[in-house]
């Protein structure tokens, strides 16, 4: 379960202070599929980063499985990220120096006890699921945007995480490809994972159990 209590996050730049999230309280149950919608700049990515333990709130509290995240050590947070969370970033973020299959293996690299062979097997399996098994030795810059997005999805699901956080995972895809990615997310959801997905597409949001709407850092009903 992901629980946010009165979470506030602001960014300071030289001149202005942006309140990206303003006292957001939100609870996402285990196995729930939640869509997050809202206009650009309303704080969706910020919210996802907090839930993914990539960032810490300025005020308020974040709980993962009833455990408060505040003040945890870097090692503990890293382990949680590694075991529990899979990320699909808004802008893919593939490692340019690594080929497709090595990119997909990244999460498993930091998981102790997974052999090189096992890593390769799981990565191929995940790439199979996103329909990219023919391109595993390509480098990211040799792929189309949609293909890169699918690599990013494969990387997020390779470690079978409990929580899948997807930031506009279908944003760069045509509707057929988009549907395929949605099917993958639903598959993860059916397998019991919690899925949180940011989207601008109402059709996609309709697939979710529930939609959370943000406006200017605030949750709106």
């Amino acid at each position: 379960m992901i629980q946010l209590n009165n979470v506030t996050k602001s960014y300071h730049t030289e001149r202005i202070e942006t309140l990206a999230l303003d006292a957001v309280t939100l609870s996402i149950a285990d196995g729930e599929f939640v869509a997050i919608m809202g206009p650009s700049g309303c704080g969706k990515t910020t919210l996802l980063n907090l839930m993914g333990l990539l960032d810490t709130p300025d005020a308020g509290e974040l709980l993962l499985d009833d455990q408060s995240i505040g003040g945890q050590s870097d090692r503990k947070l890293s382990r949680l990220r590694n075991r529990k969370i899979g990320f699909v970033f808004q802008s893919f973020h593939l490692v340019q120096d690594l080929n497709v299959v090595d990119n997909v293996e990244v999460p498993l690299l930091y998981r102790p006890g997974v052999s090189g062979r096992e890593r390769r097997r799981l990565a191929r399996e995940a790439l199979d699921q996103v329909g990219l098994s023919s391109r595993i030795f390509h480098f990211p810059n040799q792929l189309s945007g949609g293909q890169q997005q699918r690599v990013a999805v494969a990387r997020a699901i390779v470690g079978a995480p409990q929580i899948l956080l997807a930031d506009e995972p279908t944003g760069n895809l045509d509707s057929r490809m988009g549907d395929e990615i949605m099917d993958l997310l639903k598959q993860r959801h059916d397998a019991g994972s919690t899925v949180v997905m940011v989207t601008h597409d109402q059709r996609m949001a309709d697939c979710a159990d529930r939609t959370v709407r943000l406006f200017d850092g605030r949750q709106v009903q």
Partner: protein, 411 residues
């Protein structure tokens, strides 16, 4: 996990060909220089043939005599050695020998200059020369003051070409010596055994040398065991300080040293009173470090400048569970892989350079070679270099906030 990191490191380096190439160039060149210098030092200080018993050999390479008004330092004279270096406890064999410098001979109207050493018979038992023909100087030659000479191979060629040498007579500075043996060439950097012609020192024209405190002698002391070194040193030093100094002086100073210790005594010992091998080692290490400094900073700089470029990668790795420690280890290892590759390359290059030095004849009879010891030091240097130049950039990378990393370069 380490293996995976290594594989990844190699992949990244292969992918970043330009960066890898310029780094490798700098690293291998630096290590090339270090390894060549190491090979030279190794050649001078480590026991090589004919010093096969070097590990239990001490020498007396210098004497200093001092008065209120001044001091004189130089090679030992016979008198000091005769008085203090004979029959030392724990010493199995003792040899005195003389550095006589360059001498002139004429063969068929052509002038030949050769380096000459005058030795006793023990010299040939302590050192392990490779005899090519004949024999070396024995007790009989020495005691009977026989005018006999041992040549090295090259000098035999100069005097006799391909012809017969044994039993023939050569003239050295106007005196005749019978050639009794020929030994394999010894490089000039092997200071103790090196020469081109060796004769018994009892053939000297006068016996003036017997009265000298400072002269042109050296002594070799072959200990029964290396563990006897301290005892030998102590006894020798005690005898020297008890020895009556020459007219007008009040102290005689000399020590029994390995050659390395002797050099440290000359460099760091106040008026040669003590040897400081530790300090010499530290100084050499410091020089190597200073020399490594510039390329290290250069590589640090190169690595730091890539942090921004790699920000997204760092963000990704952090998001998928890499802790700061993971990243630190991974990036340092990546750098170490790079420098060790550079080290291997440098090693190959230094083998070529050393071969070129040997062939060029700049250093007479040079036989510089890479051995395991030099290889070991070279690789240690490469590792140190890798850790030094990798640690700071890796630390910086590992401190990068995951969110900042992901923002840093949206690909």
């Amino acid at each position: 996990m380490l293996r995976s990191y290594l594989q990844i490191a190699l992949k990244v380096l292969r992918r970043r060909k330009f960066f890898t190439a310029i780094s490798l160039f700098g690293i291998s060149f630096t290590l090339l220089v270090l390894m060549v210098v190491t090979a030279l030092l190794d050649h001078v200080f480590a026991p090589h043939a004919p010093e096969t018993r070097g590990h239990r050999t001490l020498g007396v390479f210098g004497v200093s005599i001092q008065s209120e008004t001044g001091s004189g330092t130089g090679f030992p004279g016979f008198k000091v050695l005769d008085h203090c270096a004979r029959d030392l406890p724990g010493v199995e064999e003792v040899s005195f020998f003389r550095l006589q410098g360059n001498v002139t001979s004429y063969v068929g109207g052509e002038k030949i200059r050769s380096f000459l050493k005058a030795t006793d018979d023990a010299f040939w038992r302590i050192l392990d020369f490779e005899l090519i023909e004949g024999r070396t100087i024995d007790a009989h030659d020495f005691n009977e003051r026989r005018q006999v000479a041992v040549l090295n191979e090259t000098t035999r060629g100069k005097f006799f070409g391909a012809g017969q040498a044994l039993g023939e007579t050569i003239r050295i500075d106007g005196r005749s010596f019978e050639v009794i043996g020929v030994v394999r060439d010894v490089p000039i950097v092997r200071i103790v055994p090196y020469s081109e012609i060796w004769i018994p020192y009892t053939t000297a024209r006068t016996e003036d040398y017997r009265q000298q405190y400072r002269g042109d002698f050296m002594a070799l002391l072959l200990a029964e065991r290396r563990s006897d070194f301290d005892q030998i040193r102590a006894e020798y030093a005690a005898r020297v300080s008890a020895m009556p100094p020459p007219e007008g002086y009040d102290t005689v100073i000399s020590g029994a040293d390995t050659f390395f210790e002797f050099v440290s005594r000359q460099l760091f010992g106040q008026r040669m009173q003590s040897s400081h091998p530790g300090r010499l080692r530290a100084a050499l290490g410091l020089a190597a470090l200073l020399f490594l400094m510039l390329p290290t900073l250069n590589l640090v700089n190169l690595n730091v400048s890539r942090i921004l470029e790699r920000a997204s990668e760092i963000g990704v790795r952090r998001s998928f569970g890499a802790s700061r420690g993971h990243l630190l280890l991974q990036f340092v290892l990546e750098n170490v892989v790079l420098t060790v590759l550079g080290g291997l390359l440098g090693l190959g290059l230094s083998a070529l350079v050393l071969a070129a030095i040997n062939d060029s004849g700049v250093i007479p009879y040079a036989e510089f070679a890479l051995n395991l010891r030099v290889f070991g030091w070279g690789m240690a240097g490469a590792l140190l270099f890798g850790v030094l130049s990798g640690a700071y950039p890796a630390w910086r990378m590992s401190r990068l906030d995951p969110v900042d990393g992901l923002k840093g370069s949206a690909s």
